[in-house]
């Protein structure tokens, strides 16, 4: 019998499982797909924008009081968020990726469009691209690469005062084949011969004193070595800029967490979409997942829902305005009227109301109904499905996932002895 079944393999689900395993719980993860880490930048965003202000947040802690009272950060409080992020940063699981921050302030690193994006922890591969660095940049791409355009990045960074220029290398030095996605390109660079070709091609391009920005394809499995080899070969700082998704830094993070779970004997079962559940007297007994033959039952003492919001598949909706949570049909704070879901602008600074709603929880991160009553005694929730926030708009996606997952698991660990076995 499991102590905890985690549903969802995104950042919230994976960190929850890792934290639970560390706490000695018997835990398993089931998920429909690979989780949305594959799309993300691989950086850990804490809080990038508040309200409709145009400026990026400098000190996230100072701005949290401005968030909605029900926001997960307001429930957690600064200390618990800091602890969770510290735990993540120091976790052996992600040690090789070298997450660092800038003390008490956000780090600004270049986006693939050439905007500065505010983040809290940047992986080592992205750290040398930070804005508070006087060195000029050269952004280097590859002719015909679909998901990375150095001229666009340079143009926009330059418009914001960065000394930067762009260059293109031939595609053929990476691969003889045109049809390669970002993850495949990264795997090609795991090979030292490809690394050497890249170093040789970069040498005549890079001017003394310049730091070098490259698409985030610097190694799929051997990323730290590739980064080190390039820095040594060019004798200057080298950094990655995320690409149009899929994003290799996000894939690396997912892979690192999966490996750490595997090493602890925690199973992550992908292709297991949760499609139903059994509950009695307000206690969930099992969750069912779809297989080709018949539904499979997963029993556990506690359940953590980390299926994400609309993007992760945690919510679905239809043309009648019905908007529902897909596993337990939990109460949602989303308006049940389509006319209230959207604003006229895709880029409206207030975001879209449909994406602000979600699963309301109490301070223990247990889903509650409109009256504030716990829905199921042994159900917790974490990550993108939580209500009272829009983590994509706020740029809080990753830290919300980590902090809420850790908080929920700590609660589960503390009460699990009391749960029926």
């Amino acid at each position: 019998m499991l102590d905890l079944l985690v549903i969802g393999a995104g950042l919230a689900g994976l960190t929850a499982a890792l934290r639970a395993a560390e706490a000695g719980l018997r835990v398993k993860v089931i998920a429909k797909g690979m989780g949305s880490l594959y799309w993300a930048t691989g950086a850990i965003d804490l809080l990038g924008y508040v309200g409709v202000a145009d400026r990026a947040v400098t000190s996230p802690w100072a701005r949290m009081a401005e968030l909605d009272a029900g926001h997960p950060y307001r429930r957690l409080g600064e200390a618990r968020i800091r602890q969770a992020l510290m735990w993540f940063q120091q976790s052996g699981a992600v040690q090789a990726l070298g997450y660092t921050g800038a003390g008490e302030e956000n780090v600004l690193t270049p986006s693939p469009a050439g905007a500065w994006r505010p983040t809290w922890l940047a992986p080592a591969g992205q750290r040398a691209g930070a804005a508070n660095d006087a060195r000029p940049m050269v952004i280097v791409g590859f002719q015909g690469m679909r998901d990375f355009y150095p001229h666009l990045i340079a143009r926009n960074l330059s418009a914001q005062g960065q000394v930067v220029r762009a260059a293109l290398l031939s595609w053929s030095m990476l691969s003889a084949q045109r049809d390669r996605n970002n993850a495949q390109l990264a795997e090609l660079l795991d090979d030292v011969r490809t690394q050497q070709r890249l170093i040789d091609a970069l040498k005549p391009v890079v001017k003394p004193g310049e730091r070098v920005g490259l698409p985030a394809i610097l190694g799929r499995y051997a990323h730290p070595q590739v980064l080190a080899a390039l820095q040594a070969g060019l004798n200057t700082a080298v950094f990655e800029i995320p690409t149009l998704p899929p994003n290799v830094p996000g894939i690396r993070l997912a892979t690192a967490l999966r490996h750490a779970l595997e090493a602890r004997g925690v199973r992550v079962e992908i292709g297991m979409e949760a499609i139903g559940f059994h509950a009695a007297a307000g206690v969930i007994e099992s969750v069912e997942s779809a297989t080709s033959a018949r539904p499979l039952k997963h029993r556990a003492n506690a359940f953590l829902l980390a299926t994400g919001g609309v993007l992760g598949g945690g919510f679905n909706s239809d043309h009648t305005g019905h908007f529902w949570e897909t596993v337990f049909d939990l109460p949602l704070t989303v308006p049940q009227d389509r006319r209230q879901w959207f604003r006229p602008g895709f880029l409206d600074p207030q975001g879209q109301p449909a994406f602000r709603g979600g699963v309301a929880v109490n301070d223990a991160f247990q889903p509650v109904d409109a009256a504030g009553k716990v829905v199921y005694a042994n159900l917790w929730a974490a990550g993108g499905l939580l209500a009272h926030m829009d983590p994509i708009l706020e740029r809080s996606l990753e830290a919300v996932a980590i902090a809420s997952a850790v908080a929920a698991v700590e609660r589960i660990a503390s009460v699990s002895v009391a749960l029926p076995r």
Binding site: P112, Y149, H151, G345
Partner: protein
């Protein structure tokens, strides 16, 4: 002010206007066509794509039916590659009671539309998703048309015959001379929407082919023309539920046509009389109606993934008519303003439908010949436009060429199979001001992700092209590039292109952030009326990409506006705070709506 002199000035770059320019140029007239935006930006680019056999009008409007079947046959020869030979079914659903099916069959026979009754079983084998409760099926030679491509190749044919095509040139005034009772229109003043330059065009004859805008245009010369703007809403689902055009066998009404077009199926339409041809907003009830009617043709329709909804405004015209727009005639209306209003040198062509655009052009230029006192025969019915040798469009055509040429690695739009060189050639060889122009050229951003991936790529590629462009390009004289659109849709044809040189002088193409914002906002406008389920998930991914990964809402500001900005700002989803043109200019990335 620059001045041009021409025989015929055509106003409007839709199917009718390009058709008139083509016809007139083939007859040896000097022709200038002006369009205030991109070709097909108006109603032509907003229709469901049905090439009528005439069946729809066989009972109600036999004259229209005859015109349709005749033109259907001609367009299959002259615009072969713009047409998919889908064939069409008229199906009798349980809702369609009465004697209409027999009247339909008789009507088709009377006007010469080939019509064969197909056993229901055989019809369901061909279209397995059709409502199994249909009782009768008639097959007619309907087709599916690419109205974007057709207008562009028609414009290219016109240009090859000597016509000058000026897109992004808005008419700001008609030139009139003479006193009351003996007035004549002698051309127009137009403004280049990109450079702001004004041009005076002196013309022996001015033809108003501005469709639903014909009344507004004629008003510039104080001529009353009452167009009945009939708004039609269409909804596209993300794949071809059917491969045959499906019509309900009943009196034409709302939501009774389902057309397979390229990779999607489109249901249409409504018919609402609106006050202004720019009123393209979509009401929730209109979407619900399309879904409910779709269910009658294809059970489960309302659970299909809906990509987008949009509206077009029909340019219906009926002298003295005051009723409902659904019952207004679909026949063409050619107004000779000399006879009608005592104003010489000015014709208005409106009404009609896409299928009869060539005929409308023929009749108009016939009249022009009379007015100009010359006798020149129409040649369009026997003159193929560039690219017809490719044969009819077929669904697998792009995929086939991408696979044959191994172009998978060069796809910038995976949904619609657009290669990088297709995009580059379209940007360089067709007048391009916004990414929306490239959408009409190569279908960029029209698939399930609605621009999620290709918008960024297109902006990046255009920026690269711009950096590679020679420092000083020859000053544009406003005539624009040579159109090359016959093979625009072919990945193979663009494998070894000539170098693409982008002329971005004074163009929004200089402003990649503006291109990004405008196209994303424009795509959003068309998805919000139908955003739920999987398409909502897709849209949230687009948010993750453009907000979280790209942070494009915090890019340094570019120019405030392009011609596309004006469009998405003006017409937004109802109930969510309608923006108007009167509001103050907005900051670069913020929506005009204020709470």
């Amino acid at each position: 002010m620059r001045r041009l002199t021409t025989d015929i000035l055509v106003i409007g770059g839709g199917s009718t206007g390009t058709g008139v320019a083509w016809d007139a140029a083939l007859r040896g007239f000097r022709v200038v066509l002006v369009e205030k935006r991109d070709l097909t930006h108006g109603t032509t680019g907003r229709y469901h794509g049905l090439l009528h056999s005439g069946g729809r009008y066989a009972v109600k409007d036999p004259q229209s039916a005859i015109e349709c079947i005749e033109e259907n046959r001609i367009l299959r020869r002259t615009h072969t590659h713009c047409i998919e030979d889908t064939s069409g079914f008229f199906v009798v659903t349980p809702e369609d009671e009465g004697d209409f099916p027999d009247r339909f069959k008789a009507g088709c026979a009377k006007v010469g539309i080939p019509c064969e009754e197909v056993p229901v079983k055989a019809a369901l084998r061909r279209e397995p998703l059709l409502n199994p409760r249909i009782s009768r099926v008639f097959e007619v030679p309907d087709g599916s048309a690419d109205s974007f491509l057709a207008a562009h190749v028609t414009a290219q044919a016109a240009q090859q015959a000597g016509a000058q095509i000026l897109t992004y040139h808005e008419v700001i005034g008609l030139l009139t001379e003479g006193s009351e009772g003996a007035r004549r229109v002698s051309g127009a003043r137009v403004r280049n929407m990109v450079s702001d330059e004004e041009v005076q065009i002196d013309a022996a004859l001015t033809i108003n082919a501005s469709g639903a805008w014909a009344g507004k245009l004629a008003a510039l010369a104080d001529i009353p023309v009452r167009v009945i703007p009939g708004k039609g809403v269409m909804v596209a689902v993300n794949h071809r539920l059917v491969n045959t055009v499906i019509n309900r066998c009943k009196m034409p009404a709302d939501g009774d046509i389902l057309v397979p077009v390229h990779t999607v199926a489109i249901i249409g339409t409504t018919d609402e009389r609106v006050a202004d041809p720019e009123m393209l907003s979509i009401e929730p009830w209109e979407v619900e109606l399309m879904l409910a009617e779709g269910e009658k043709l294809v059970p489960g329709f309302s659970h299909a993934r809906i990509l987008r909804a949009w509206a077009g405004v029909r340019p219906l015209y009926q002298e003295g008519y005051a009723g409902d727009s659904r019952d207004a005639t679909r026949a063409l209306a050619l107004l000779d303003h000399q006879q009608r209003d005592g104003v010489a040198g000015f014709l208005t062509i409106t009404g009609g439908k896409w299928t009869t655009f060539r005929l409308m052009a023929e009749k108009t230029v016939d009249k022009a010949c009379i007015q100009l006192g010359v006798e020149r025969a129409c040649r369009t019915a026997d003159t193929p436009v560039p690219g017809v040798e490719q044969g009819h469009y077929w669904l697998g055509h792009r995929l086939h060429e991408v696979e044959e040429e191994r172009l998978q690695g060069d796809l910038v739009c995976e949904c619609e199979l657009v290669t990088r060189t297709m995009l580059e050639q379209a940007a360089a060889n067709n007048p391009t001001v916004t990414l929306d122009d490239l959408r009409r050229d190569v279908r960029l951003g029209m698939g399930p992700c609605q621009g999620g991936f290709c918008t960024f790529r297109a902006a990046g590629i255009l920026q690269e092209l711009r950096m590679q462009a020679p420092e000083a390009l020859p000053a544009s004289n406003g005539d624009g590039p040579v159109w090359e659109v016959g093979y625009m849709q072919s990945p193979r044809h663009n494998v070894q292109p000539k170098p693409a040189v982008l002329n971005t002088a004074h163009s929004p193409l200089e402003h990649p952030n503006l291109l990004l914002r405008d196209f994303l906002q424009e795509r959003w406008r068309g998805v919000t009326p139908v955003l739920w389920g999987r398409q909502l998930k897709q849209e949230r991914l687009d948010e993750l990409i453009y907000l979280s990964v790209m942070n494009i809402d915090h890019l340094p500001p570019d120019e405030d506006a392009s011609p596309l900005t004006d469009f998405w700002q003006f017409d937004t989803t109802p109930g969510a705070g309608r923006a108007t043109r009167d509001e103050a200019p907005i900051s670069n990335f913020q929506s005009p709506a204020k709470e």
